[in-house]
């Protein structure tokens, strides 16, 4: 696989994973605690709650996808590694992960009242795990450009276990 093909495949993978994360957060949230939260919300039945909850997961998921995509594009096209200071960039990666976590929790915290739905701790935990854990940390392990492939913590172990590196 040449470098351009690899870049296109990884961008596609980030997009696909973002959609999957939104789907997973929506499905798990709806089934684990959806009924309870719909009942607790004012003027809300389950199907209406689902509609609002989908808008919430879509917003949080897409913004998280932008974090993963931002890391990929920056490290692929803007960072140069001809100096020691250019290598690694773990602080930048960690800053984007913090942003991802802030988005996961912040969107849930600030956007849900605007939509008129109530959330509980399970939803916050789900968003943090699915969007930041899977949609950023795990996704960047598999999509980070090769020059930075061990920058996400745990990348070496996971890539080795998955047979991506020797």
């Amino acid at each position: 696989m040449n470098r351009t093909t690899r870049t296109v495949v990884k961008i596609f993978l980030i997009a696909a994973a973002t959609v999957l994360c939104i789907a997973a957060a929506y499905y798990l949230g709806a089934n684990v605690t959806g009924h309870k939260l719909a009942t607790a919300s004012d003027n809300m039945n389950y199907s209406r709650w689902l509609e609002k909850y989908f808008a919430l997961t879509r917003a949080a998921g897409l913004l998280n996808g932008l974090c993963a995509l931002g890391w990929f594009l920056t490290s692929r096209f803007f960072f140069t590694v001809d100096e020691a200071s250019g290598a690694g960039k773990r602080i930048f990666w960690a800053a984007l992960m913090a942003a991802s976590l802030a988005i996961s929790l912040g969107v849930a915290h600030f956007y849900a009242p605007l939509l008129g739905i109530k959330l509980n701790g399970i939803i916050f935990a789900l968003f943090a795990i699915i969007f930041t854990g899977l949609g950023y940390w795990l996704l960047t392990i598999f999509t980070t450009p090769l020059a930075f492939k061990y920058t996400p913590p745990g990348a070496r172990l996971i890539l080795k276990r998955s047979g991506k590196v020797d």
């Binding site: 470098r3 001809d82 290598a87 690694g88 090769l146």
Partner: protein, 461 residues
């Protein structure tokens, strides 16, 4: 087939330095072993010491497992001991060496007294023959068979049915080389006459290319650069009128005499910078080794495109392979070595350098072979810089404006992409990136050799 290279004197040692670099870069033909011998009465000569260091470095790291399908390190080197062979011993004069006290009252002794001045006879020869080939010829003819193990070693190889190509390098304008070239060639030819069909002898006769001015009036016997041209004229007359002993003869010199920065009679202070003439002389050796064993006798002439300038169009070998090797060394010096130093000292974390994790995790980076490669990479960069920054001669193989004064580093890393004067996409960033991409080698490629092989391959355009 085996290749022998015999350096004679200080200039020969500098050709040997260039040949060592060409050999490591894979510019010699086939995969034959190169046996290197040196003849120099001035064993402490700084030029010889620098060459010996490069040779000894390579002999330590030449067994890196880089695989058999690459030019890198393909020709192994063996150093012929004693290295260098010193025909004069320590603190000996010409009188001591030819045992004059046994012959002082004989007709031969009286003839000897007429042929050599008192100063020539009484000067200790620790610093060589001091530009006097007549001294060198006498000493070498007397001492070669007993002192040097060269004949015996070559005889052993040819008696087992193998063929040998022997190449001699030395100056025709100084002392040791001018004396040694015809003398050693003749002795080898005579000693190995029974195996003439398995032996070919070539030689590069180096014509004047440098000059020097002694700092002060010395009351010592030493070479005078104003004698270089008369000496050369006499030597060339000898070669044209007498039987030419070489199967292939190469003449290399320069019309511009490069001034030697610091004059020295000899010894460790004689540490002259590398010169493009020596590189051409080493390329002559590579050309000789590529010839069929019994090709017709040749006298080779090459010319250059512009009078005072050398560029790739004047390079009589694979420029692409040489540039790839130069890129490989500069990538190592600029990118890899600083990173390894940071990793060894704990100043950097391994995750920053995926190529380190993939290739070098678990490799002992302070093992002698790795350390010797580090020394060698610096030595090659310094050698190339010296060739590029000659006084009075423009050499545009690698752009000289790229080098900082000391150590041999690129002024700006962005210049790496135009190392050979042609702008390419091969930046240091690109090399880093390529090092991290998937690849496949066979199982014989391993350890630090696997990393070097990968780095070398990534340096191809």
């Amino acid at each position: 087939m085996s290749y022998y290279f015999i350096s004679i004197g200080g200039t020969g040692a500098k050709v040997m330095e260039s040949l060592t670099h060409l050999c490591i870069a894979g510019l010699l033909p086939e995969n034959e072993r190169l046996y290197i011998a040196a003849i120099d009465p001035d064993v402490g000569n700084g030029n010889l010491e620098r060459t010996s260091t490069a040779l000894n470095n390579f002999s330590v790291f030449q067994n890196f497992s880089v695989g058999n399908d690459t030019p890198l390190f393909k020709n192994k080197i063996s150093i012929v001991r004693p290295f260098p062979w010193n025909p004069t011993g320590h603190d000996k004069t010409l009188d001591d060496l030819i045992e004059f006290y046994h012959h002082s009252n004989t007709p031969a002794g009286k003839l000897y007294e007429i042929l050599y001045t008192k100063k020539e006879r009484d000067t200790t020869l620790n610093e060589g023959f001091r530009g006097h080939p007549s001294i060198g010829a006498a000493v070498l003819a007397k001492k070669f068979d007993d002192g040097s193990k060269l004949t015996a070693q070559i005889e052993k190889i040819v008696s087992e049915g193998d063929s040998v190509k022997i190449f001699l390098a030395g100056s025709v304008f100084g002392g040791t080389g001018a004396a040694g070239l015809p003398t050693i060639a003749r002795l080898l030819k005579n000693n190995l006459a029974d195996y003439a069909d398995r032996i070919s002898i070539g030689g590069v006769l180096i014509l004047p290319y440098f000059s020097f001015t002694p700092d002060e009036k010395l009351d010592e016997l030493f070479a005078h650069s104003e004698n270089f041209l008369p000496n050369t004229k006499a030597a060339l007359k000898y070669y044209s009128e007498k039987e030419n002993l070489f199967d292939a003869t190469y003449f290399v010199g320069d019309s511009v005499m490069t001034p030697v920065k610091e004059f020295s009679v000899g010894s460790a202070n004689q540490r002259n910078e590398a010169h493009v003439v020596e590189l051409y002389a080493a390329l002559a050796a590579a050309d000789f080794y590529a010839r069929p064993l019994h090709a017709p006798k040749i006298f080779k002439y090459i010319c250059r495109h512009e009078r005072d300038k050398f560029s790739w169009s004047d390079f009589p070998a694979s420029a692409e392979r040489f540039v790839q090797f130069a890129r490989f060394i500069f990538a190592y010096v600029h990118l890899i070595k600083p990173a390894l130093n940071d990793l060894i000292s704990g100043e950097a974390k391994a995750y920053k350098y995926p190529w380190f994790v993939d290739f070098l995790d678990g490799v002992d980076l302070i093992a002698p072979d790795v350390v010797n490669f580090n020394f060698y990479a610096e030595a090659f960069a310094a050698w190339l810089k010296q060739i590029e920054t000659l006084d009075g001669r423009e050499v545009f193989l690698i752009n000289p404006a790229m080098f900082e004064a000391n150590p041999a580093r690129l002024v700006d890393k962005k210049l790496f992409a135009a190392l050979d004067g042609n702008q390419s996409k091969l930046t240091i960033h690109e090399i880093f990136y390529r090092l991290t991409e998937p690849f496949k080698f066979d199982s014989t490629v391993k350890g630090f050799g696997k990393f070097l092989r990968r780095l070398y391959d990534t340096c191809a355009l």
